[in-house]
């Protein structure tokens, strides 16, 4: 995978114009971005720090001295005719990205894998071009030209679309935690190109194709899986895979060859003559004494300023709340779910394990069904905590609690107490009443009772279901079960 992450900074990489997502066309363009003659690049300190932080978070080796190069190609959205990048000696090399995804037969086992990062380099973004095919022209907007990008090149260590999507999600979480990139693929802040090749085990690597125009993690998985199938099909039919660039069409789920790419490009890399090497220092003492501190990037200081990474967050959740790694994976994966969970646990006396079941299955299920994010949930952590407290106190049974949750979701104005009172869902703890109902059920279904006495215990669940229907789910299931077992023995 080749990932281009737009650095979250106020100004661009080599010029002092602002970085903003939506702005009037060509309003955030300086003379350098428009490549007017006589302008020179001036490197932005924040972008260097961002690249170093990302390199440290991904366990890379930071090159103390890195060099800038020019990559030449002609296209209308690249006004200079070249892009300033770091090809010979990038700022960070040899890292690892450790990611996990839920796999196994029931998709509830956490499988952890890692992919090697070949290099991280700083480079310039190009402008945006809008194609007007009707009039045969292209409209160029240079607002994005010159924005700092971090290009992360990964080694081919992944073998299917799901792994690639999980790796990109983990990278998104890391970049968001560091604050170096907001990681919204749909806004173009994180662009992923997949390089796919197939080969039989034991054979050398096959010819690879590059797939572009992917705008979400799900589409990435779809595109990679389609491309793998396509290449396998081509080879099985005796053909050869062409080394080309293909575009992903998300409506059909197919990859199509891209026009306008003539064979292998020769970029004529050349050292950037206007920029001296970028030096990063280890400790404040190794920096030259006559240089101002604002001119010096010190690794020790950057390392000390690293925030809590997703990996560390997951381990902390598992250790402090005694939940399974799979649970903490789901918590960290969804934006805002960890905070929700911690808020509920703080306010309720139910144990974290019970809360996890409610948050991960009940709440998340409903959120996904209605395509809402955690911040848009109609049920707040306080409401859920109240509900769980009622259940803990024994005022309602667990099945009633689920019903009340659904009600809270539909009509968030009411509290759990109100709903229970209105619909008379309080627990039935009158044992004589329950005995009477159980007796009635047992009497009206003699053949099931015979089957239970014969040894088929599963029929008991059916009888329990009938009892619960009678009591409208208000009876304590444990009590009902023990009474039924007693009656049918």
């Amino acid at each position: 995978l080749t990932v281009h992450a737009q650095i979250q900074s106020i100004t661009k990489l080599f010029s002092g114009s602002q970085v903003r997502f939506q702005a009037p066309p060509n309003s955030l363009v300086s003379f350098f971005d428009a490549s007017l003659p006589g302008t020179l690049p001036v490197l932005n300190r924040r972008c260097v720090e961002a690249a170093v932080m990302t390199g440290l978070a991904l366990d890379c080796v930071i090159n103390r001295k890195s060099l800038f190069d020019r990559k030449h190609y002609f296209y209308a959205d690249l006004p200079a005719g070249y892009q300033i990048t770091q090809q010979r000696r990038p700022i960070a090399v040899d890292g690892t990205l450790t990611y996990s995804h839920l796999g196994g037969t029931r998709r509830n086992t956490l499988i952890t894998k890692s992919v090697r990062i070949k290099q991280i380099q700083l480079e310039q973004d190009s402008g945006k071009s809008l194609h007007d095919d009707r009039r045969g022209q292209t409209l160029i907007d240079l607002n994005r030209a010159g924005v700092g990008l971090m290009e992360l090149v990964m080694e081919p260590d992944m073998s299917c679309g799901e792994e690639a999507a999980a790796a990109v999600r983990e990278l998104q979480l890391i970049l968001q935690a560091l604050g170096t990139c907001q990681g919204h693929m749909d806004e173009g802040q994180l662009r992923v190109d997949a390089n796919v090749s197939v080969h039989r085990p034991g054979d050398p690597w096959g010819v690879r194709t590059e797939v572009k125009n992917i705008n979400s993690g799900r589409n990435l998985a779809r595109a990679i899986d389609y491309e793998i199938q396509r290449q396998v099909g081509v080879l099985k039919n005796g053909g050869t895979v062409q080394n080309e660039t293909r575009s992903f069409d998300r409506k059909s789920g197919h990859t199509l060859p891209m026009r306008d790419k003539e064979g292998l490009q020769d970029y004529r890399f050349m050292p950037e003559p206007n920029l001296p090497p970028l030096i990063v220092y280890d400790r404040p003492s190794t920096a030259p004494p006559c240089v101002h501190p604002s001119q010096v990037v010190v690794l020790e200081e950057v390392r000390a300023g690293l925030p809590e990474l997703p990996r560390a967050r997951r381990t902390r959740l598992v250790e402090s709340y005694d939940i399974l790694p799979e649970h903490s994976f789901t918590l960290v994966n969804e934006d805002g779910l960890t905070d929700y969970f911690e808020a509920v646990v703080k306010e309720t006396k139910a144990g974290p394990r019970k809360v996890i079941g409610w948050v991960n299955q009940v709440l998340l299920g409903l959120l996904h069904h209605h395509s809402l994010s955690v911040s848009q949930s109609p049920v707040t952590p306080q409401m859920l905590a109240q509900l769980l407290n009622l259940q803990e106190n024994g005022q309602i049974s667990s099945s009633v609690a689920k019903q009340v949750f659904q009600e809270l979701w539909r009509a968030p104005g009411k509290t759990a107490q109100q709903i229970i009172q209105e619909q008379d869902l309080g627990i039935v703890s009158n044992t004589t009443e329950i005995h009477r109902i159980c007796q009635k059920v047992v009497d009206s279904h003699p053949d099931q009772v015979q089957a239970i006495r014969g040894g088929n215990k599963k029929v008991l669940n059916k009888l329990m279901g009938l009892v619960q229907k009678e009591t409208k789910g208000r009876a304590d299931p444990v009590l009902v079960r023990s009474i039924l077992e007693e009656k049918t023995s």
């Binding site: 900074s9 106020i10 100004t11 010029s15 002092g16 114009s17 602002q18 009037p24 066309p25 060509n26 309003s27 955030l28 363009v29 300086s30 003379f31 350098f32 428009a34 007017l36 001036v42 490197l43 932005n44 300190r45 924040r46 260097v48 060099l67 030449h72 002609f74 296209y75 209308a76 071009s129 809008l130 194609h131 007007d132 095919d133 045969g136 022209q137 292209t138 409209l139 160029i140 907007d141 240079l142 026009r259 306008d260 003539e262 020769d266 004529r268 050292p271 003559p273 206007n274 920029l275 001296p276 090497p277 970028l278 030096i279 030259p288 240089v291 604002s294 001119q295 990037v297």
Partner: protein
């Protein structure tokens, strides 16, 4: 009194003495510039020059010039150079496409071959154990700018430079226009 004023006064004196003393004199203004920091030296030497109009070199003491007195240029012989590389027509086409240069006819190709041969002289230099240099700025410190907005918001001035604009966008032809093939030239 500044050195330049001195020079002007002396120039007037020299003119009155006559053209014989002009010989081998660089204009006094440039003399003034060359030994700007040693006024004593200048005055004393100039007076000596007036009184004894002899020819002398402008290698003044206290200024060790590295410019040699006699030309040291040695032409590189053809047999010292590595064998000449052939430039196939495909490569010329590729270069024309990549760099957008034009080699319209045989003369252009001959010029290219001569240029390559001229550059081959670099191979004669022994670079054993010497690191390649990218630019003369290598040993300078790279200036790091603070992340503060300082430029931008000049859309109208930039759009004025373009021949064709549509609603604040620059207009370009779609994609890359393919260059005509060799046969069509």
């Amino acid at each position: 009194m500044s050195v330049v004023n001195y020079a002007r006064t002396l120039q007037k004196v020299i003119l009155n003495i006559g053209p014989r003393c002009y010989h081998r004199w660089v204009t006094t203004a440039s003399v003034a510039l060359r030994i700007r920091d040693s006024k004593q030296n200048f005055r004393c030497r100039l007076w000596c020059g007036l009184l004894t109009p002899v020819h002398y070199q402008y290698s003044t003491e206290g200024n060790t010039s590295k410019v040699p007195s006699v030309a040291t240029w040695e032409p590189v012989l053809e047999n010292q150079l590595p064998p000449a590389k052939q430039v196939p027509a495909d490569l010329v086409d590729k270069l024309e496409r990549l760099a957008l240069v034009d080699f319209p006819n045989q003369e252009g190709l001959v010029c290219l071959k001569k240029a390559i041969r001229f550059a081959d002289q670099l191979h004669v230099v022994d670079t054993e154990g010497v690191d390649p240099m990218d630019s003369v700025l290598e040993n300078r410190a790279l200036y790091l700018r603070e992340d503060v907005v300082a430029e931008g918001d000049c859309a109208d001035r930039l759009l004025q430079l373009s021949k064709d604009t549509v609603e604040e966008y620059f207009v370009a032809p779609p994609g890359n226009i393919p260059l005509p093939g060799r046969e069509e030239c």
